[in-house]
Amino acid sequence: MGGYGVAYAASVLMARGLPLSRYEAMQWAILASFPIYLCVVLWAFRARPLMRMWKGVLGLAGICAGLAWWMGPA
């Protein structure tokens, strides 16, 4: 779930942030979303203390979502 959150937020950030056409940026974001999700899942299973994992995942998702929100819809 957390991984999906990060993947979602990071992808939206990419789709908004990349200096490309709307379609192109979105396609990059979609291509990247699954590997991002994977990386978060792998990292989450490595991080030993559960709290640290949650802090990391939620923090990352929060930062991405915040930035994306700040940029606003294109």
Binding site: V12, A15, E24, M26, Q27, I30, V41, P73
Partner: protein, 519 residues
């Protein structure tokens, strides 16, 4: 990492096995389709594409003149062995979808052909992402979750086997669970690029389901907004979805358009002709090349349906689209010739074997510790029911195709019902028998189910091996021969399972501590 690999693999393994098995069968979709319609001519008549299309157009004009879309696929190539039509009506309410009709025509006469009702190879192919009996979106999410777990299992598998090269050449037969571990590694590593590609690209296919919120964040929610993205992703241009009736207008002749396609792509290389809103001022004729490419698009010509002049519709193909399009072509493998197609099939089988051996490995490693627990025997029995039971069910699907009466109503649906009924019976058998016995018995049943298919075929049709090989129809013979080969494979598996059963009996007399130390 190891934990994620083991448990993520276990809980999704059974569905992944189903997905891989039916998906692998999907690489022979066209060949299975043909095998499952034995009424088709053994050797297709040679008809020029333009002549066949003219007959198809006549059929469309006479049956549903007021259609929104006529789509005609002429004979030629692997995909269209005959003339196929697909007709879509104007929707009754704005924005809806109209009634759809499809079928086959004799390319020489234009008559409608009568084949037995069957799901064909196409149904097996569809099952690998739609499953069966459940709504599509639900299936997409289940398959997507499993695919993501597969993705994680592959990468963690690589991390666990840091000594991947050395491990690859290690095989320790007859060492209990270790030979299963070695086998799991061999089939996993041998086609690792295939597994990674197929999993990642599989997720890309349904990305608009899984990553719907991402798309919605920029495009907005709703079908139309979603399509604004997916049309670009899959087609490279927005598709004309206008369903309003335009003013009637005479149609331009199709023949010069086809001649232009022949001139550009070589004769007999038309994939399909797609006419939208025919007979109106808005008519468009889209002709698509037959040859498939690994990367990039099939060439397309778009004509104005009234004037017959080329309408320029450039395909936009920026780098990220080229990547996603290539992933999708690699997944489908439609560009593959016979040799590469066999490799695809083998890689798919290896993927299936990797999942199956992983599931078996789970039980082999834990037998000494967990034998007798409810969870353990559940896993063990689900393994038998999936690995042997599902394989047998696929064979039963082919049996049903031959044995159900041709005139039966709901025949195509019953073929699938037979498949799942047989699977249920196999699962019940696996649940009731001692596990070791269930393995060898079900391997035997699967061997018979596959091995006898050429015989069943010979008894029920005249499209048997004697006829197909004599006529040089190897794609037809390949179905029988592959079933025979799988049957022989299961005979070998049954013998291994029987030996394992005999070994399992004395093994139980060893005290658990000794067995545990050997782990």
């Amino acid at each position: 990492m190891s934990w994620l690999h083991t448990w993520g693999g276990l809980i999704t393994g059974w569905i992944l096995f189903f997905v891989f098995l039916t998906g692998t069968a999907g690489y022979g979709e066209i060949e299975l389709d043909r095998w499952m319609r034995p009424e088709k001519p053994l050797v297709a008549p040679e008809v020029a594409q333009a002549d066949a299309l003219a007959l198809g157009l006549k059929f469309a004009e006479t049956t549903i003149p007021d259609a929104r879309r006529w789509l005609l696929s002429p004979p030629g190539g692997r995909e269209q062995p005959e003339l196929r039509y697909f007709i879509e009506d104007y929707p009754e309410t704005e924005g809806g979808s109209g009634k759809r009709f499809s079928g086959y025509l004799d390319p020489a006469t234009g008559e409608k052909t009568q084949y037995r009702a069957t799901g064909g190879g196409r149904l097996l192919y569809r099952m690998h992402y739609q499953l069966h009996y459940i709504p599509r979106t639900a299936a997409a999410w289940i398959v997507g979750f499993c695919a993501m777990a597969m993705f994680a299992a592959l990468v963690t598998g690589i991390i666990i086997h840091a000594r991947i090269f050395k491990d690859f050449f290690t095989f320790r037969p007859g060492t209990g669970h270790r030979n299963w571990l070695d086998a799991h590694n061999v089939v996993g590593v041998l086609s690792l690029p295939f597994h990674l590609m197929i999993t990642y690209s599989g997720l890309m296919f349904l990305c608009y389901v899984y990553m719907a919120p991402v798309i919605a964040a920029e495009y907005g929610w709703g079908e139309d907004n979603r399509r604004a993205f997916t049309d670009m992703m899959f087609l490279g241009h927005p598709l004309d979805r206008d369903t309003r009736r335009a003013a009637p207008a005479p149609s331009a002749s199709l023949a010069p358009m086809l001649a232009e396609a022949d001139r550009l792509w070589g004769p007999g290389n038309i994939g399909f002709v797609d006419i939208t809103r025919p007979g109106t001022t808005a008519a468009r004729v889209r002709i698509v090349e037959g040859t498939r490419h690994v990367a990039g698009e099939r060439a397309t010509l778009v004509f104005d349906g009234v004037t017959g002049t080329v309408v320029d519709g450039p395909i936009v193909n920026p780098p990220p689209r080229a990547i996603s399009k290539t992933l999708i072509s690699l997944h489908e493998g439609l560009f593959a010739g016979p040799v590469l197609r066999w490799l695809y099939f083998l890689a798919g089988l290896m993927g299936t074997a990797m999942i199956g051996s992983g599931l078996i490995l789970w039980t082999k490693k834990r037998r000494a510790r967990l034998e007798g627990r409810v969870g353990f025997s559940l896993v063990e029995r689900l393994n038998v029911a999936t690995v042997c039971g599902l394989s047998t069910a696929v064979a039963a699907y082919l049996w049903a195709n031959r044995l159900l009466p041709v005139e039966m109503s709901g025949r195509a649906a019953w073929e699938a019902h037979v498949m799942f009924l047989v699977w249920a019976v196999m699962a019940a058998h696996a649940a009731l028998r001692p596990a070791a016995r269930a393995w060898s018995e079900q391997c035997g049943i699967a061997a018979a189910a596959f091995g006898l298919i050429p015989l069943v075929n010979a008894l029920t049709t005249d499209r048997h091996l004697g006829a197909s090989i004599a006529a040089g129809q190897w794609d037809l013979a390949a179905v029988d021969l592959t079933c025979l080969a799988i049957g022989i494979g299961f005979v070998a598996a049954a013998r291994i399972a029987a030996r394992g059963h005999q070994r399992a009996v004395p093994a139980k007399t060893i005290s658990p501590t000794v067995h545990g130390a050997a782990e």
